[in-house]
């Protein structure tokens, strides 16, 4: 039962992240939204991997890899946002700065 709770939390987090990604234009927000989606998926995955008799280590290893990959992508994205702000004075993509 607990697993279902975690899985549903994961699914909801993915939804939250998707909303943040689509509705927010500040790029730091979007980077956080990405991480939210990723961690939601991982939570879902972790819950699924815990269903068997023993804890399946493969999802755990994959999740750790995924977390590190997400960090690498976030670091590059953050760097790009700072560079964008430096060159154009805004942390939003050119054609979206005015929206929302």
């Amino acid at each position: 039962m607990s697993l279902t709770v975690f899985a549903m939390t994961g699914a909801t987090l993915v939804g939250l992240g998707v909303y943040g990604l689509l509705a927010r234009v500040h790029m730091l927000r979007r980077i956080m939204a990405f991480n939210l989606i990723g961690s939601g998926l991982f939570l879902f995955f972790g819950a699924a991997g815990a269903r068997g008799a023993a804890l399946d280590p493969i999802p755990q290893a994959l999740i750790i890899t995924g977390i590190v990959v997400a960090l690498a992508a976030s670091a590059l994205a953050v760097g790009l946002v700072v560079a964008l702000a430096r060159s154009s004075g805004t942390a939003c993509l050119p054609d979206e700065a005015g929206d929302t």
Partner: protein, 308 residues
């Protein structure tokens, strides 16, 4: 009882997650995001996935949080930290709900769990912690590429430097007051962190821990030392730093090639040698991961000037 606890924890996670997305102000969102990561780490502990919990806390909450905070600081200086308030966005809400519902449905549609049987393989892997066995033996290729990804992200990040700043020290320069909190913190913390980080790597073979978690702790130590001015800020031109970056992946890669030459194949570890090999690889990897993470967080060389 534990179900109630889990439900409460999940509600908290969702609440903080919601605040990260919908809350007002980018800075506050970052703080919520860090909190979110820590709560999620507790969730992982509840699921019994201690390795993941450690990774979540150290990497997602810790390093990503520092990264975001530092970025927010720079954006504020460039007056780009402000954002338009959140307006209702129906299409986005529909898509988000759809995705969440689809995943929710998928959970209930899952067949009985079908995990691969590792009982025969684990004793051959050389380590007692099954997660480490997967990461450094069964799926070592993933882990090797993952270390390379960190490196690629760093090279990519450096490409965002301005040409005139290329030979400057990395990152914006911090100036800790002599005798201030940061300075004393910077002297006291590193030895403790160093020991903890090394322990995590060593322990990772048998219980919770591992190269990435240990590397993160070492990176934190290194960051604090840099901020406190105990360590001089690195420059790209310094060969030692660049050598430290490639050392771990290089050892990993060459041990894989050695497996191809002397054992059954690429990345193969003979059971007798598996444990020392994994510990060696992990040690080398930890060093490089720590350095890479530090440099990822402090960013490309920056002379503080503005383009526009």
């Amino acid at each position: 009882m534990s179900l109630v606890l889990d439900i409460a924890l999940c509600a908290l996670i969702l609440g903080v997650g919601l605040a990260t997305v919908a809350g007002h102000g980018v800075f506050r969102a970052v703080i919520f995001f860090i909190t979110y990561g820590l709560l999620l780490a507790i969730g992982w502990a509840r699921l019994g996935a201690y390795d993941v919990a450690l990774a979540e806390a150290a990497i997602s909450a810790g390093l990503t949080g520092v990264l975001l905070l530092a970025a927010h600081g720079r954006l504020r200086r460039l007056s780009a930290a402000e954002e338009a308030p959140l307006r209702r966005n129906l299409p986005a809400a529909l898509i988000a709900t759809g995705v969440a519902l689809a995943l929710g449905w998928a959970w209930f549609a899952l067949p009985d769990p079908a995990a691969p049987d590792l009982t025969a393989a684990l004793p051959q892997s050389g380590v007692g912690n099954p997660v480490t066995a997967v990461l450094l033996n069964f799926r070592a290729w993933d882990t090797l590429l993952e270390a390379i990804i960190l490196l690629a992200a760093l090279i990519g990040l450096w490409m965002l430097a301005r040409d005139r700043a290329w030979n400057e020290p990395l990152g914006l320069q911090y100036h800790a007051r002599a005798g201030g909190v940061m300075a004393s913190f910077g002297r006291v913390l590193p030895p403790i962190g160093l020991i903890f980080g090394v322990y995590l790597v060593w322990a990772g073979a048998e219980t919770t821990g591992g190269a990435f978690q240990g590397g993160t702790v070492l990176a934190a130590v290194c960051l604090v030392s840099l901020m406190a001015g105990v360590l001089p800020a690195p420059r790209i031109a310094q060969t030692a730093w660049r050598a430290a970056l490639v050392f771990g992946p290089g050892v990993f890669l060459l041990s894989g090639v050695a497996g191809a030459i002397f054992a059954q194949g690429f990345l193969a570890l003979p059971p007798a040698l598996a444990k020392p090999a994994i510990v060696t690889i992990e040690a080398a990897l930890t060093l490089s991961i720590a350095v890479t993470l530090v440099l990822l967080v402090i960013g490309p060389p920056d002379d503080g000037g503005q383009d526009a």
